[in-house]
Symmetry: C2
Subunit: 253 residues, 2 copies
Amino acid sequence: MRETSLESPLRTLKLLEAVVRDGAKSSVAALARETQIPVPSAHRHIAALVDAGFLSPAGYGRHIAGPKLAALSGFLDEKLLMANVARPILDRLAKRMGCVTQLGIFENDMVTYLVKSGQSAGDLFTKVGMQLEAYCSGIGKVLLAHLPDDARSEYLEAGPFIALTERTITDPDLLGAELQQVAREGFAVDDEEVVTGLQCIAVPVRNSKGEVIAAISASRATQSDHRRWQARQLPLLQDAADEIGVRANIVLT
Amino acid sequence: MRETSLESPLRTLKLLEAVVRDGAKSSVAALARETQIPVPSAHRHIAALVDAGFLSPAGYGRHIAGPKLAALSGFLDEKLLMANVARPILDRLAKRMGCVTQLGIFENDMVTYLVKSGQSAGDLFTKVGMQLEAYCSGIGKVLLAHLPDDARSEYLEAGPFIALTERTITDPDLLGAELQQVAREGFAVDDEEVVTGLQCIAVPVRNSKGEVIAAISASRATQSDHRRWQARQLPLLQDAADEIGVRANIVLT
DNA sequence: AGATGTTTCTCGCATAGTGAGAAACTAGCA
DNA sequence: TGCTAGTTTCTCACTATGCGAGAAACATCT
């Protein structure tokens, strides 16, 4: 059984990583030892990285990250970092709860979904990177509920709120009340408000300052033990949200 | 004439770059077209990147930067970004002036050289990443001159200032006076104070708030037309410093 | 439905990358 | 200055590695 993934490129990446991690402290030979790569090969790879611009020489056989790498990192925006932080946690959660988990953020009056996980994730109509109206989904309601007061009022006045199912809340006043409740209780419920046959619960993800920076949700096909399910899963969801919050703080500026 | 640099790894990197640049907009096949890489190969490479953690799948054949890449970018500190911003500018300057250009920053009472450029750059004894006493070099004097008053006083009191050549300024009071002049005039001159036979001029690099964040210098073998050379080159140096300052502001936080 | 466009196989081939060893360099020390 | 220990660079024959056409499975859009 052959490892079918490109081997030589992986070596290059392994070295790139090793070099960047250790600043300009170690010689190529030392890095070769660390990465279990024969010395001459290590030199070849690093030379290639250098003249591709991913590394720069830094005096006597030392190397540091190069311009191309810096340029790349310019594309690593907050959204991306957030997604990468959250993914493994949501994966675990989805497995444990046996349903689909998602993470979304608020972006110009809509929810952008950054992560989706779970075995039946394909069934769900949302897609990663997709934007969706905020007023109907669990994640959306959580995010709206924790908006600054004036922004939320503005949103409620702007409308319109179109019904996606017969249960979608379309009245601004009712929606406002619902959002107040969400803010008070710390979680939101979506019971077939966006798609018939789908219910979900959602909680906010907070950074260390307590600001809501995202929301995560767990969804499943509608079943009867509604409230019991909510009650049992909420703590799990909240733990995951906390963990994402903590990790995000490490990564984001 | 053999292309001695590893080819397959470079393809992988090319793809990595392409994928990250375009967010999650294009399909693998499209990227393959862009990068002139056959479709099946592109798939192999991207698959390898994915399970090495440098890319993450983002729904329907789209990909975005992965956790490993995000982690790497954590190691791209300010020094590095500064170096990468400055390098091309200093390269151009060195070519134009026909001498060696350098960039240094102030770090625990010494100058750390981040960039060195110019055809005879190898001759000069300084090395990238090297630390050198601040009091004698042009770059060092510029950086000292723009230190907060109390920090500068402290530095002057601490000493000792050892002579590297017969022209090195070793008296704290004289050095203090020299620094005042440097601050006033906006540039520093080193006339064989660090190595006999080498003279240089240096100017500060400022960020948008006017703070001095680095200094750059141009050095050449001692010649007689001293002042004339200084006068002619200073504007060029200063332009380069300004440009570096502007660009640095875009990149650094 | 059919019609694009994209992803995933399989497979033999040639090249691209490998790694031991030895030679050329470098730095630091006596 | 001449040593030694630690690097970097080269050469070279080998074979594993990555290649790419083509066709088949899978999605997407009208």
